[in-house]
Symmetry: C2
Subunit: 279 residues, 2 copies
């Protein structure tokens, strides 16, 4: 079934080289894209109040704020600074009425080779902000990142592992803690369908789309437009929908070699077309 | 505990830019490295008979032959050609008295986006060669590759998944089918310790070492020398040893930007030193 075009959302990473947040908001409005997910650096440049006004003016939905997380640090002061920063991110997500705060949890701190310890730091970091987020009414969405980012960005690397963390921190399913499923990070996982089913509606807070290119020329900035790679996006969408997810489909493309170089108005047109044809 | 230096093995990928197989054999002998794992392209250039003679002359152990696999193809003729090629690889492994034939199983064939189907093709491909390998006395070692290679090299991407495949193809543990654990591919896996324990002595056929660099500048050819990256190699070695593995530690470094550019005699000296200090 063709996706509902009203569920398309633009993650501002997709247009970040040429558009600030104000331009991205206006671009979404101009192209009839109803959702937006700002990154915090662009948000700070625009100013939170101005962003809130512009998003309201155009009636956009904030499908997520990117990003909180980065809990791992070489010392206690660094970990506390991360917790403080996450509280500020929660405040901003609240101001934006965001559906969730995306957590990219952090990798190995300093010169550590102890990934089990890093994962425990992530557990403790989320534990330290969860009640604050609940009070603010902001859902925390742990985003498992592709294993190629385990060292330097996120040591949570599969949906199953992210759900284990949710179970540990929220054993009674009180809510407010769940996951973001980005097809780029998880498409390869042989357990994906089962783990998405396990997540269910109550722990599925975001669905991000783009594509995996062959060859991939850069580990970070060579993501593809939907349809240009090997991911069966429609199949993964069917899994999240079967699990009860009814939210937006957020396009997040890091593409230094291609899409960042194009006119963002063209990029948004292609996003809309590919969303209908390839997702 | 410091690793036994007599267990160091050289995978010829490590020196492939400057040394053919004959030079690698002589290099191992000269440096007191007791194991070698040839790649088939270098083997064919030297000739199987000449390689067998040189390896025997120097009393080296062939810790594995790289590589069989690549079972996935867009059509039946392609899949049959892969099976035929794997039988030739088994013959060569037998001639070399190799401990195992490494299977890099193949990725998505043609323009397919159906990774479940690719995985079924791998199952069927291994099923088609298993009895031939057993008759030749050659163990097949499925090597799970890092998920970043799922599309173009290997759709088996974790130790657990590889062991599930072993269970499906060899449900009674008849033997001759197991896995190769390469720290580069699996270090990030939160289930690694448990799955290595599950594998046990009977399904652990090879242990490959190198390191994950931060940053990694190329998906294929930017592996690090042991000790230069973030992998806790000694810890993973302790897990395979606890599971009963007593075999070689095979150094396999793809490094277009660094180690391939160096004098292989220097590379072997560094391998020996790092094996003692960082593994």
């Amino acid at each position: 079934m063709i996706p509902n075009p009203a569920l398309l959302s633009l993650n501002t990473a997709t247009t970040r080289k040429r558009w600030g947040l104000a331009q991205a908001i206006e671009g979404c409005a101009r192209h009839g894209i109803r959702g937006i997910a700002p990154w915090r650096d662009l948000l700070h440049v625009m100013g939170v109040d101005a962003a809130v006004r512009a998003i309201r003016t155009h009636g956009l939905t904030v499908t997520g704020l990117c990003r909180g997380g980065m809990f791992t640090a070489a010392d206690a002061a660094g970990r506390q600074a991360a917790i403080d920063e996450n509280r500020r991110a929660i405040d901003e997500a609240h101001a934006l009425d965001a559906h969730c705060l995306i957590l990219v949890v952090g990798g190995l701190p300093g010169s550590s080779k102890d990934i089990a310890d890093a994962r425990m730091q992530v557990h403790d970091g989320i534990a330290a902000i969860l009640s604050y987020a609940r009070q603010a009414g902001i859902a925390l969405a742990i985003e498992p990142l592709h294993p190629m980012y385990a060292a330097d960005r996120a040591c949570i690397n599969s949906v199953g592992q992210a759900l284990d963390l949710c179970d540990a921190l929220d054993p009674h399913g009180q809510g407010g803690l769940g996951i973001a499923v980005d097809v780029y990070h998880v498409w390869w996982d042989p357990l994906l369908e089962a783990q998405i089913s396990r997540a269910g509606k109550n722990r599925l807070y975001a669905f991000h789309i783009c594509d995996w290119l062959v060859p991939t020329r850069d580990l970070l900035t060579d993501r593809g437009m939907m349809g240009d790679g090997v991911i069966d996006i429609a199949r993964i969408r069917s899994w999240v929908e079967r699990a009860g997810y009814t939210g937006f489909h957020e396009v997040e493309i890091f593409s230094a070699l291609d899409w960042w170089e194009r006119d963002p108005d063209e990029v948004l047109e292609v996003c809309k077309e590919r969303h209908q044809r390839c997702c």
